[in-house]
């Protein structure tokens, strides 16, 4: 009799343990999926905005995402709120600075608060997502003969401050007020070091002592960034 009671009790305890263990993972998975999706929305929005889209697209996409999330959980509260960063240099969560000092940045920043609660758990979670594509270029030249110059440009691409590969790089140089793309006739070459660093070189007849170059880069996430530099 005692063994029967004991085995029944053990069985109940065992069942209880297993159920607690598996249930504890579920909200975490859901939260991670929400964060992952939020990141995709910000990357996609920044890709759109940096390629000429409206800044308001970020808010619009996040609103859709937030609304979709709230419809996915029917057993309790499931609310995703977002706030776009307005602190300088950001405006409506976006910062683009494609300067002439060899430095360019395309960035988006949003803060999120997520509440997921039902009868079994109550999770309040805050997180932020900052997507930043940075471009740094350095340019030097050597005069070959007369106005003909050999121009070398070092290009460094970064995603969230980590070296990142580019999907497309276009180099321009300024001649008599016009931006031109060097091609095979300029002996244009670009070398990929495989770690986010590239060197481009070309020869061109440029009368000016200041050679202005510009690098237009699209990273692997389709985010556009450009930077200009002057070599003397």
């Amino acid at each position: 009799m005692a063994s029967l009671l004991l085995s029944a009790q053990l069985y109940i305890l065992e069942v209880g343990n297993v159920m607690n263990e598996t249930e504890s993972n579920s909200p975490n998975d859901f939260i991670l999926a929400v964060k992952l999706g939020s990141r995709h929305v910000i990357v996609g929005s920044l890709a759109n905005i940096s390629n000429g889209g409206q800044n308001s697209n970020l808010a619009s996409n996040l609103q859709k995402w937030s609304s979709l999330i709230s419809k996915q959980y029917h057993f309790g509260k499931n609310i995703l709120n977002y706030t776009l960063k307005e602190t300088s240099p950001y405006s409506s969560g976006i910062w683009t600075n494609w300067g002439t000092n060899g430095y360019g940045v395309s960035s988006a920043y949003a803060n999120f608060t997520y509440k997921l609660s039902d009868r079994e758990f109550d999770v309040n979670w805050s997180y932020f997502i900052n997507i930043t594509t940075t471009l740094q270029i350095e340019s030097t030249y050597q005069t070959v003969s007369g106005d003909v110059k050999q121009v070398d440009v070092i290009i460094n691409g970064l995603n969230e401050a980590e070296p990142a590969l580019a999907k497309q790089i276009t180099i321009y140089y300024k001649l008599l007020g016009n931006w031109l793309i060097p091609n095979a006739t300029n002996n244009y070459e670009i070398f990929d070091y495989g770690n986010g660093t590239y060197t481009a070189s070309f020869m061109a007849s440029i009368p000016s002592q200041n050679v202005e170059v510009s690098a237009h880069v699209i990273d692997q996430r389709q985010i556009y960034v450009q930077a200009n530099a002057t070599s003397t």
Partner: protein, 139 residues
């Protein structure tokens, strides 16, 4: 004296029967509990597989390309052997968009669990999808 002993034996017998029946009742109350735990682990396995596929925006890209075969092949790799699945993909208005079934075997007649997953594509025209992954153990 013998009468009392007999009465005690009868009481003892009834008590034993009661204990046996209560143990049986308890075990019948939770007949599917171990299965429930197994089903819950299946939910986790399914969610993890979708998240892995979504990490580098592979999932969003494959959906945009309507490459249902590649999604099926990816799930074949990501899910353990012995798991049957059927994936239905909806747009943000919950209209199903996969024109062909994304499944390895038919789930009819099996005890299934359903994983709901929301994802966003990472490209310039951000799109939103809701995925419903039905899973069952084959054995």
């Amino acid at each position: 004296m013998f009468d009392r002993r007999g009465q005690i034996r009868i009481l003892e017998a009834f008590l034993s029967i009661a204990v046996i029946f209560s143990a049986l009742l308890i075990s019948m109350t939770f007949p599917s509990s171990p299965n429930l735990a197994k089903q819950k682990s299946l939910v986790n396995i399914g969610t993890q597989a979708l998240m892995k596929l979504d990490t580098n925006d592979t999932l969003g890209n494959l959906i945009k390309q309507e490459n249902w075969t590649a999604i099926k092949q990816a799930l074949d790799i990501l899910l353990p052997i012995g798991v049957s699945f059927n994936l239905t993909i909806y747009d943000e208005n919950l209209n199903p968009i996969n024109s062909q079934a994304i499944q390895n075997t038919n789930l009819l007649g099996r005890e299934t669990v359903s994983v709901q997953y929301v994802c966003a594509s990472q490209n310039q025209n951000v799109r939103f999808f809701v995925l419903r992954l039905q899973l069952a153990w084959t054995r």
